[in-house]
């Protein structure tokens, strides 16, 4: 694939191009390319250790790839720090929840509003005026858009650390949404949830993707094949650092190698059924 700085396809939100990443002698990604288009749900599947999380960390800026390029809205963002990528409209959740356990649900989500607020040390320390107004605005946004969507009214003032795992995942999603992202990276949002919670979470993902208020493009890493095939517009199959196929769910399901590798092993992915 030719590397060029020419303007990429219009509707491609994020593109990674021939990315290599290794840790010491371990090669985690060996030339992976993917295009994520605006408005879609693009899933990445693959066995454990296939490099899915590494891929997310690279997109997100936590790792710097040794080779290859990352474009976001046509701009190269290889060297951008994670916090700058957040400001560009990327948000993510983590495989094992990384919430701030000591803070309340509201405070956790407020943190997601960080990039949308302006109050600094001085106005923050007096609190009257700008900061107080801003706090009220954010609270309104959080309550009306996020708490309502995720149905977490009953826990808004509880410390997140004391909540059950399923709710923590929900809070983490809420925190990511508070950034009002354009690209939402969801690293195994369904892992460890029970049937009911999986249904809820899948519904939230669809809501966020389709709802007028949000229209967020989602990059989803998931093990649960059923949900992945239902939700996704495109599925990217990764196996030990290499791409097997990137196509629609139907194409993926009929791909011989994929069938051999995953879909055959019913019970591996059917733990919750």
């Amino acid at each position: 694939m030719a590397v060029s700085n020419a303007i990429k396809e219009q509707d491609v939100l994020l593109e990674i191009e021939d990315v290599h990443m290794s840790f010491g002698k371990v090669l985690a990604l060996a030339g992976v390319s993917i295009k994520i288009r605006e408005g879609e749900i693009h899933s990445v599947i693959g066995p454990n250790g296939a490099g899915k999380t590494v891929m997310m960390n690279i997109i997100n800026g936590l790792y710097m790839p040794q080779k290859g390029n990352i474009y976001y809205k046509g701009k190269k963002i290889n060297k951008l720090k994670p916090y700058k990528r957040a400001k560009l409209g990327m948000a993510r959740t983590f495989q094992k929840v990384e919430v701030f356990g000591g803070m309340t649900v509201l405070d956790n989500i407020r943190l997601g509003r960080h990039i949308h607020s302006k109050s600094g040390v001085v106005s923050g320390s007096v609190y009257i005026g700008k900061t107080a107004r801003e706090e009220v605005e954010h609270r309104t946004f959080i309550e009306e858009k996020i708490v309502d969507l995720l149905e977490i009214e009953h826990i808004r003032n509880k410390p997140v650390g004391m909540l059950p795992y399923g709710l923590q995942k929900r809070v983490e999603l809420g925190r990511a949404l508070a950034l009002e992202p354009e690209l939402l990276i969801l690293d195994e949002p369904l892992a460890g949830l029970n049937l009911e919670e999986v249904e809820d979470m899948a519904r939230f993902i669809i809501d966020v993707n389709e709802d007028e208020n949000w229209k967020v493009t989602c990059l989803l890493v998931e093990h649960d094949m059923g949900v992945v095939m239902d939700l996704s517009d495109h599925v990217f199959v990764l196996n030990f650092g290499n791409m097997i196929i990137d196509g629609t769910p139907r194409e993926v399901q009929s791909h011989p190698e994929v069938i051999k590798a995953y879909l055959g092993e019913e019970d591996l992915y059917a733990t919750r059924r």
Binding site: N60, L62, K81, P82, Y83, A86, K87, A91, R92, F94, E98, V99, F100, G101, G102, M103, T104, D107, R110, L111, G112, R113, H114, I115, S117, S119, G120, V121, G124, S125, V126, Y127, T131, A132, E134, E135, V136, R139, T140, N157, P159, R175, L179
Partner: protein, 366 residues
């Protein structure tokens, strides 16, 4: 733990009220009582000794606030905070003694207040300088760099160079009348007390407000999980340095304030012991709690005073004790820290919270 417990029948119809500080009449009443005690009762009835103890407490609170901010709220362990207090003190002192103030500013007592602000800024910047490694260094290595800040600043730069300015030798004496705020010459415990109150309240308000707004949340996020914080769009390095600045700033205020209580300052006022003492204060008070800072300060100062009072009568029988008091103080401080860490690792603030909860949940346990 984090939200206030409201009695039945208190509800909010808008967010501003929900975000307010004091939400019930009971709390408002309590705070008014506190202010009356602080501003009226204590000054009216306390003698000079009591006031000096109060001032000591206030100084400790001001010093410990910065440590609390760094350790308790931003997770950056510091063992060299006395350096920044020293910078504040010396900046303010030098400004008063050496700077050619216009006479009017001296006469109307503007010089000293102004010097406090400048001292705070200088201390803040100095603190940022030693916070720079925090961009790359974590945990124990950061502890070492902050320790280095102490040695480099106090034991080297201040002792060897700053103290030589003006050729006064080790100690800078502050002639009576130099410390003047507006029309008042700060020359008694009584006046220092009021200045202390104003500054402590000012700094506590700053801290509390910061912590409930964007900056404070960013700090706490960095403390709890810096990777997550960065992904949320928080510029971790910037906010760490900001924390160092604010901590140094408050430390500078503490230092500049304290010269009003001293006839002369010398590097011995800011030993490493004082840095550790401040960390001890917040540990005993409770890490990550403004209440804790205040409780810890009161507790430590009062315990030491009580210790002194207890030893004084014995000194008649055994005079060496009086000389040894300093050592006893050190040993007791050390032992206190050890015992607190072992038996009350969450500090007094947690106890306080538990007691409050005990009554809030009364007559049940949850």
């Amino acid at each position: 733990m984090s939200t206030t417990w409201l009695p039945c029948g208190v509800y909010h119809q808008n967010y501003a009220k929900d975000h307010a500080w004091w939400q019930t009449k009971f709390i408002k009443g309590k705070m008014i009582m506190l202010f009356i005690i602080l501003f009226v009762v204590i000054p009216l009835f306390a003698d000079s000794y009591c006031l000096s103890v109060c001032n000591q407490v206030g100084y400790t609170i001001l010093g410990a606030l910065g440590v609390q901010l760094l350790i308790g709220f931003c997770g950056q362990i510091t063992l060299g905070h006395a350096a920044f207090i020293a910078v504040g003190s010396y900046t303010s002192t030098l400004l008063i003694l050496e700077f050619p103030w216009p006479k009017i500013m001296m006469d109307y007592g503007i010089a000293y207040p102004l010097s406090i602000i400048i001292a705070a800024v200088v201390a803040g910047l100095w603190s940022v300088l030693f916070g720079l490694p925090s961009a790359r260094v974590k945990g124990f290595y950061l502890i070492l760099t902050t320790m280095a800040a102490q040695f480099i600043t106090v034991d080297f730069i201040i002792t060897q160079y700053v103290s030589q300015i003006g050729g006064r030798g080790q100690a800078f004496s502050l002639p009576p009348g130099t410390i003047k705020v507006g029309p008042w010459i700060i020359d008694s415990d009584f006046k220092v007390y009021f200045m202390m109150l104003v500054l402590v309240i000012f700094c506590v308000i700053i801290m509390v407000n910061l912590l409930r707004s964007r900056v404070g949340r960013a700090w706490v996020a960095i403390r709890d999980n810096d990777i997550s914080a960065e992904v949320m769009g928080i510029n971790v390095v910037k906010y760490k340095l900001l924390a160092f600045f604010v901590a140094g700033f408050i430390g500078g205020i503490a230092g500049a304030f304290w010269i009003s209580n001293l006839a002369a300052i010398s590097p011995e006022h800011f030993p490493w012991f004082w840095s550790l003492w401040l960390v001890g204060v917040i540990l005993i008070g409770g890490v990550g709690s403004i209440h804790g800072t205040i409780f810890g300060s009161i507790f430590m100062v009062v315990v030491m005073e009580v210790l002194q009072l207890a030893i004084m009568p014995l000194a008649d029988i055994y005079p060496k004790l009086l000389m040894d008091f300093l050592f006893i103080k050190e040993a007791v401080f050390g032992l206190a820290i050890c015992l607190f860490m072992m038996f009350e690792p969450n500090g007094l603030a947690y106890r306080w919270w538990q007691i409050k909860n005990y009554f809030n949940l009364w007559p049940f346990s949850y």
